[in-house]
């Protein structure tokens, strides 16, 4: 990672003409060489225009404070799917997914408020015991002194169970939810992607939506609605009559939001602590630091690399004029490493002061709705790891997802001693 950052990438980042820097290239994240490019942009061109990329022309906002300005200004910076949505990769015509993350007010707010109670404080308290029990079970079953993939055995195992609970989906079928999550976020031109075209992606998501619709219809009839996402959507005034396309889009959003980011933070944290071993020792000696470790992991890993907006009007930002209609990427992965906002930003510091002030959850009306559930799952995981005094040894570098959207860890080989 930062200590051993690829020398060639650093040379390339600093030797090429500024206007040729294109941080949308998914391989930068797969190869884990993106940081020098952002470092240069933050210093020399913090609001950066890339005229030519695979995803068309776009602006990159790279500093913490500028990202905050874009994030809170939903009047100027739109999320609407009709304008292309929230990823640099535009929605493909005919395959648009109108979920509430890709809507502006008031449509976004009405729908968000339907699902937010499932992750509100009162409900989280009810879920903590179950999360702890599952975490204990998974940790106790791990092999000792033998290499295994932490991502598969821990991160996916725990977050897929959580996701099944949120949807009240059959636990034994949870791998299907994981598959649809991977289908939703992938770039279809990735050689080993789960689907290879937008049509194929749509077909898989239709299967998902058909399965969800069956649960929906059944739960809509119940007079005593259960406290799961499908029941909440089926009974809410704002969402009970949504069409099939919006149902597909909404479930697809909630599947990704409900597992993928936490999954990757569970893996990213283990990798991070292995890179800062003196911090890991400090944590093991001071397990009461877990509440500060959790936001620090979420900052340091930054599970969502960017989200995109479309300007509805001309806007001045740090000396540049963003024009109406322009695409704007908020690079959270860069804002979280901005040393104007965060002291020693490349270091993972288990007792960092004000660790909560990171940008991984976004800010403003679209701020991550499940952030407290994510934190709860990570807190319980680390409490249970420390309670067991597990010594986790990372035996090789992680393998990352080819994506400019999700900071995905696919493999993290570890041994437990």
């Amino acid at each position: 990672m930062d200590a051993t950052v690829n020398v060639e990438a650093r040379e390339d980042a600093y030797s090429r003409p500024l206007d040729s820097i294109d941080v949308s290239v998914p391989e930068l994240y797969q190869d884990d060489v993106y940081q020098p490019y952002f470092e240069r942009l933050r210093r020399e061109d913090p609001v950066h225009y890339c005229a030519d990329s695979k995803f068309g022309p776009y602006w990159s906002v790279t500093r913490y404070k500028d990202i905050m300005k874009v994030a809170v200004n939903h009047q100027v910076f739109s999320s609407k799917w009709e304008l292309g949505g929230v990823r640099l990769e535009d929605q493909v015509q005919g395959y648009e997914r109108p979920s509430f993350i890709q809507m502006d007010e008031p449509d976004h707010g009405q729908r968000r408020m339907t699902v937010s109670p499932v992750v509100a404080p009162a409900n989280l308290q009810r879920m903590e015991g179950m999360i702890r029990e599952r975490t204990a079970h998974v940790l106790d079953a791990l092999p000792r002194d033998r290499t295994f993939n932490w991502v598969q055995e821990v991160s996916i195992e725990l977050t897929s169970r959580m996701l099944a609970t949120l949807f009240d989906w059959p636990l034994e079928d949870r791998h299907r939810l994981m598959f649809w999550s991977d289908v939703t976020v992938c770039h279809v031109d990735t050689p080993d992607a789960p689907v290879h075209s937008e049509a194929e992606r749509w077909t898989e998501l239709q299967k998902m939506a058909t399965a969800m619709k069956a649960l929906w219809d059944e739960r809509a009839k119940s007079n005593a609605p259960r406290f799961d996402l499908i029941s909440m959507l089926a009974h809410s005034e704002a969402t009970r009559n949504i069409d099939f396309r919006e149902l597909l889009a909404t479930c697809s959003l909630l599947i990704v939001g409900g597992n993928d980011t936490t999954r990757n933070s569970m893996s990213g944290g283990v990798w991070g602590l292995s890179q800062f071993s003196e911090q890991y020792q400090k944590l093991r000696q001071n397990p009461e630091l877990v509440p500060s470790l959790v936001p620090e992991i979420i900052r340091w890993h930054t599970p969502v690399l960017h989200l995109r907006r479309t300007a509805l009007a001309d806007f001045e930002l740090s000396g540049k004029t963003i024009k109406k209609g322009d695409k704007v990427a908020m690079w959270f992965v860069s804002g979280n490493r901005d040393d104007d906002a965060i002291v020693d930003p490349h270091d993972l510091i288990v007792d960092r002061p004000r660790a909560r002030e990171h940008i991984s959850f976004g800010f403003g009306v679209h701020r991550c709705v499940g952030n407290r559930l994510a934190e709860l799952q990570l807190r319980v995981l680390w409490e249970e790891i420390l309670k067991r005094e597990l010594e986790i040894e990372v035996v090789d570098r992680p393998k990352y997802l080819r994506s400019n959207l999700i900071h995905g860890v696919r493999e993290l080989p570890v041994q437990i001693h």
């Binding site: 509100a120 404080p121 989280l124 800010f363 407290r372």
Partner: protein, 108 residues
């Protein structure tokens, strides 16, 4: 220096001094009072410094301006009530000396 009483959801009360001009969010955070998360550091962008203003003080703090960012952010907070405010948007002044703020069950 004027004082502020922050009451956690579990009933624990903390009375601390907050300098005039400092936000009531900073007053809590700098005194390590649990229950005010303040994730955005005072930008009115996260609604995690949410409190209920005691009725006796509401006419002095006022409510969020209609259409303001504070009002919008509060509309997404868990368990918002008519006396909800974001403490990052209230600066300490002499007339608020002794103000009582109650916290919600959690910041979300």
């Amino acid at each position: 220096m004027p004082s502020v009483t922050y009451i956690e959801f579990n009933g624990s009360a903390h009375t601390v001094e907050v300098p005039v001009g400092t936000s009531l969010m900073r007053g809590a955070v700098e005194n390590n009072i649990a229950g005010i998360d303040a994730d955005c550091g005072g930008e009115c962008a996260c609604a995690t410094c949410h409190v209920y203003v005691d009725a006796a003080w509401l006419d002095r703090t006022g409510l969020p301006e209609p259409g303001s960012q504070e009002e919008t952010m509060l509309s997404f907070a868990a368990a918002a009530q008519p006396n909800s405010r974001l403490t990052c948007q209230i600066r300490m002044r002499e007339e608020l000396a002794g103000i009582v703020l109650r916290m919600p069950e959690g910041q979300h």
